[in-house]
Symmetry: D2
Subunit: 261 residues, 4 copies
């Protein structure tokens, strides 16, 4: 039988022969193992090239930021899943990842998208950043949308990760007009609203990711890959010092009874 | 209302206050960001301590090994999922992870479990490794089980990742009786079966993970965290050069018609 | 320790005591088992009441419609996942569900949302349906959005499910202004575009779901619950007559080689 | 290009042409919609035939049993996931399903497997059921395994679902040697252990599923498809009366602080 092929299938990521395993055009054993750390490997996987030392420090910093943030809803979902299917650790991590959507991680991609819409990657700003920021904030207010990357329910008046990430980016030559525009947007948003609106970690990461030129659609993936690591950590802790069954029993006892309020 | 608490809930992984974010007892911005690469961060998350330089190189190598292995069933599941829900990248990665079970990643944990059963962590081998290997192989044959970590459908007579991983482990002081026992098991299995049974990458990783003392139940998690990175790479490629819809249409056309064989 | 509770936790869905299991206020063994079919049980779970015979026929029809649609991307993702983790059937179904997003199932909720925006549930149409349809189509064209529930890549000039679903709804008293408005929107969209734009199954289901008054946010869930059934069917077939490994090997062989186009 | 095909791909489940949609060889609009309820459709999907009225009542009862069981870990995982990604309802259901493994649903398949090993489907018992039960219980005790389908942490001395399910099965001609053997196993296990070991719902369902002849590997899927319905119900309640964020905040407050015990 002959299958008529309209479009051929191709990948640049990796392929294997009996005696070779190639990833992104490099021999995995001799050119990658022992040479690249996990963050650099992620950079290679996404871009097809080895990061410079400056890129390596900065990219590792932004993904490291997203690994662990305590017993989040995502971590709880993974722990509760593991309690029911300990033989399928991978499914527990998968369950934890499923919730990394618009509420908790989405603003990473939103901030980058907003910045790229103002300044397409590869171009220079066409007018003063303060003017752009004014338009961006006014536009979000007109559409009753929150500005992505600003504000945090807990970390006020500043998100402690943001100045550090911006410092690392600046020290490594990855702080040009995208970081500056994000900061201009913050100033304008605070001026107009009269409220403290810190650039949160997802805003900082979105801006730095834009400095690299990563497509906005993939930036949520930084949080996904980083949190997969953190979720494995939560599962290891759950094995040694479990909380899932206790949480379930407390909730069931309270929620299954007569309404309390 | 007072909830009677039988067991209190606790985590050592991370917690936040308005001006501080602590991970594993360390201040995230000042002590972690800019200092640890992503693999070291994973090590900290799992063990509570910063790896030594030797541990860092070796641990990074074993997780880097597992990031990318071409268009695997896992990568295809992620791509097909993304085609239906591009707004939920996290769910596409989750779908890809769900298949990292006993067939494709499980032998990592199996090899470590087998080695720990022979030599409990922290103890010295109680008798010659060749004798242990003989018993292990005989026991698996008696129970009609394959020996975990041996054999590969494609990579014959050796899996090219294995000698490189063992070299890195040896150069960094992480190659003692677990690696040696894995090798003894291979020799015995080849002797008894008369077949080429290379130590595959999951066998090598299982043995090196045992050198670190990682609990066998968490070792599958190395593959899960690493592959999460690889799946983000596949999704980025799927955005730029898609194959999912084409695969679907080919399969539907063929499978929906009359049987061909 | 006393946990201060800001909001109590409560569920109306189900709770258990040693000798009773209650679902939606009914005794599961004596009032539900043997009395309700699976579709009626879904209706009870979602609404808190037993459907009338007319509602039962219609609701069962709309969920039955969504169970099986051949080797979709969702079915392929489930099969490929099962090939890697056959011990975790639940994770294979989960992987298949992850892709039921905006591309393949989302328009069910989109159609209902559009209809509710025109005619809030419980109210009568405030003006002729043809006028409403004109505005809806013009608005979507102005915003360059497709009208949800219209058009199908394969089923032209009509989607064969739609007239049958509308017939069942009409015979059972569940075809009032929402179904009529969906049909008016179709007529207007075809008139303005000059193209054949059949109401597809998700459009029909969205309109009938609106007749019931189901919140638009949950309507995607009809497809999710129905497809979970279909995916279990695909996994059973995959056990008996597998295709996942064959698909993987074909794709890997083609995609891992030099580019073909 | 010609792809050499070692094995052709085929499905019996469903396929479509522009004007027809066929499921299991039946025209979906005219032969299925309006005729089959959702449980009957599941039966058709799994077996390729329409159930008899007796099979319909019994099969619907066993899947209806598994739809809803209060705020289980699975329901909590779905709710916590929805809180983070409300735009991806399907991923929240998927997260909830991921935990339906060996701890909470697996014994359904375990009970059926145990029964089929004693009496292969299609054969008659080769010796008295009491003798078989004696061997089964002794064998599990020797291997220090619990007997699948027996015992329940809450429902003592009987699981109220079991007598009702057995009654329905008996009334419909689906209670022969598999149900009887399950009961003999219970008697023997209680005799030997001196403890109350009720046949739980998964034991009853496993036994009745064996009466149908369903392969044991697919029986977990009954719980998966049923719980998908229940999880959609939990998400609808979470939209109207949320508990996920409250649970998260309580846990985070307690678990992130100093250890309490």
């Amino acid at each position: 039988m002959t299958t008529k092929i309209k479009k051929s299938l191709h990948t640049e990521l990796g392929h294997s022969t009996p005696d070779r395993i190639t990833v992104r055009g490099r021999d995995l054993p001799s050119e990658i193992l022992g040479h690249l750390n996990l963050g650099d490997m992620a950079f290679l996987e996404l871009t097809g090239r080895i990061p410079t030392p400056q890129e390596s420090v900065t990219f590792n910093a932004i993904v490291v930021t997203l690994v662990e943030h305590g017993v989040t809803p995502s971590a709880l979902a993974a722990r509760l899943t593991y309690a029911g299917a300990p033989e399928a650790l991978q499914a527990a991590v998968a369950a934890g990842l499923c919730g990394l959507g618009t509420v908790f991680v989405g603003s990473t991609e939103g901030a980058a998208k907003m910045l790229y819409e103002a300044i397409p990657f590869g171009e220079k700003p066409s007018r003063p950043l303060a003017d752009m920021a004014k338009d961006i904030v006014a536009d979000h207010r007109a559409r009753k949308l929150i500005v992505p990357g600003l504000g945090h329910p807990l970390h006020k008046p500043i998100d402690p990760r943001t100045p550090r990430l911006f410092q690392i980016a600046a020290e490594n030559g990855l702080s040009t007009h995208y970081v500056a525009l994000m900061q201009a947007v913050q100033e304008e948003a605070e001026r107009v609203s009269g409220k403290s609106l810190p650039i949160n970690a997802t805003g900082a990461i979105g801006a730095i990711a834009a400095e690299f030129g990563f497509p906005w659609k993939i930036i949520r993936g930084f949080g996904v890959m980083a949190r997969a690591i953190g979720l494995v950590g939560h599962i290891l802790e759950e094995i040694d010092d479990p909380m899932a069954i206790e949480i379930w029993q407390r909730v069931e006892k309270e929620a299954g009874g007569p309404r309390q309020d």
